[in-house]
Symmetry: C2
Subunit: 139 residues, 2 copies
């Protein structure tokens, strides 16, 4: 594995590690100041502060005891300082607004990263739920 | 509007124009040879040929008479030759596998583009449905 791939993969894994510690300070540190993030229901957050605040809220509630794991991290470098890192993920242990256990779910996350001041930061994220057995939605 | 923003916005609008003509040759031409695309249900296509084939299939069926419109195209340039273009979209006129009319739906598409040989090509796309009134899924 090239050092670039290893460095970017480390950031993607740190996303899950911060999530699983529910440490939103560490989570926010992975993002550039002006990063954007679209979650699985199409909420569009602009800026690290908005990304952090939204995740603090869900990690006090539905994601409080959730566990995220990343699989198949695939990294491309369109230029030496830009990386597109896509991975599949599984989320377990999340609950409904009423506190009831929910089944594990899977999705695909794309993170675009930029090497800024020698360190890779996420400048953009978009997340999509995997719905098995259909070509599109709604069906 | 800077010329870069105008050029990238033109590619995003061409995505919808090719979709609405159901011209998958023109659609595929917008993408780089090794582009990747994740659709709203998390299907991960690798390469222009796979992206084209999948869209040919859906444009012969559920999307045959569909109409896509882009709104709020927002373009950022992390470097001069890389653009992140995010937009909201509305799709109308699509049908179920049984051919029944379906209500309009909305989503958010992120396209990452690279200026290659003087022209902007899409090197990565990921699409997410908007689900109103929830913070995440399933609720």
């Amino acid at each position: 594995m090239s050092s670039g791939v290893a460095e970017v993969t480390r950031v993607v894994n740190a996303f899950a590690e911060a999530w699983n510690r529910h440490d939103m300070n560490a989570f926010a540190e992975l993002f550039a100041e002006d990063a954007e993030f679209v979650n699985v229901v199409g909420i569009w957050w602009k800026g690290r502060s908005a990304i952090k605040g939204a995740h603090e809220l869900t990690h006090q509630t539905m994601f409080k005891s959730s566990r995220l794991s990343m699989q198949e991290v695939a990294v491309r470098f369109p230029t030496p300082d830009i990386a597109i890192a896509r991975c599949r993920w599984t989320l377990e242990g999340h609950v409904s607004p009423e506190g009831g256990a929910l089944p594990a779910r899977n999705g695909i996350l794309v993170n675009t990263l930029q090497k800024l001041g020698g360190a890779w930061r996420i400048i953009d994220s978009q997340n999509t739920d995997i719905v098995e057995g259909v070509l599109s939605r709604p069906q």
